[in-house]
């Protein structure tokens, strides 16, 4: 995943781009078989260890999900950590410093 976090006038805006197929479970492959659903269900973020965002998402989110949120505070150099979990139970965590 890619994370861009920037603080401006005491508000930090965090943008994320997560590599994930977000299969809805409604598509068929060329042989006509349904491709099983596999999609992110939860995304959460923390700033210096404090929870600062949580999203529940589903099949209606585009492939390679993009999300952005903002919070008050945060300083240049602080760490933002983002974790996602998908319908198979897989998770991934990424980190970035606020610019």
């Amino acid at each position: 995943m890619k994370i861009k976090a920037k603080v401006k006038k005491e508000i930090t805006k965090v943008k994320m781009l997560i590599k994930h197929p977000m299969e809805t479970g409604r598509r068929k492959d060329q042989a006509g078989n349904v491709i099983p659903g596999l999609y992110i269900t939860e995304v959460s973020a923390s700033h210096n260890g404090q929870p600062v965002f949580h999203a529940e998402v589903g099949q209606a989110v585009s492939k390679d999900p993009y999300m952005a949120f903002s919070f008050k505070g945060g300083a240049s150099g602080d760490k933002i950590s983002i974790t996602w979990k998908d319908s198979s139970g897989a998770t991934e965590t990424g980190e970035a410093a606020i610019k």
Binding site: K2, K15, K63
Partner: protein, 294 residues
Amino acid sequence: MALVRRTMKTGSGLILMALLALTAMAGADGVGQSSLDFKAMVQQDVHDFQAYYKKRFSRVEFSEYKNGVYAIDAASREQWLEMEDFPPYEFAVDEGEALFETPFANGKSYADCFANGGESIRQNYPYFDSKQGEVITLELAINHCREANGEKPLAYEKGPLAALSAYMASTSAGNVLAVLVPGEAAFQAYSEGKAFFYSKRGQLNFSCADCHLRVAGQKLRADITSPALGHPTGFPVYRAKWEELGTLHRRYAGCNKNIRAKPLAAQSRAYRNLEYFQSVMSQGLEVNGPSSRK
């Protein structure tokens, strides 16, 4: 005319005749002159082509044509700007970079095949290789490099080859397209590409020029057609419809399918010559691939 007689033998004389007629219509004064004036003919084509769009979209700055339909349509431009703020193709560029830096089994690498180690060279493609007698596109050159080093060629429409092309394009951002027609044989290829652009095809009997020149900017069913000026600059593109990167020839094939014409194979001679013609016409524009499109 010696040029015409010569090309008549190759069977593309008809195309050249049609072409000369076209250039006559466009106001070029190359007809009836010796073959040394093809450079002037090409420049006249470029001038006429670009002047057409300048007149048609008087408020659009020339440099904006590298952005396709977003140069001329405010509503879709806004969505495009949001995509470009954090574009999905960033993953593919990283993949392309990793591929580019991985040596072949024989120890050599892509950098050994290209000028300047393969960096900042996208604007020189495609070019006419007089030894091989054909147009070489960047994608073709990538596979030539692979095969010359004992590797299997990659598929041309998408996947790793598109990622490599995207990476190489990204290192060339801001460079101005510099595709030239330096000789007679190159002019032949250019002319074939030009003829393709202006020829009607498919069950819908449209030419590239019909949608992207004549009615560019107007609604064709639910879409606004993009100006042909600048078409090649932003490739390979991430299309929302594909949900991934695709190359210019993938788009050509899709377009041909849409007008119910038989799509040609990516990197076929006809598509390479078309890309050559389109790139010459887009002279002076920056290369800005990869980019997002609908």
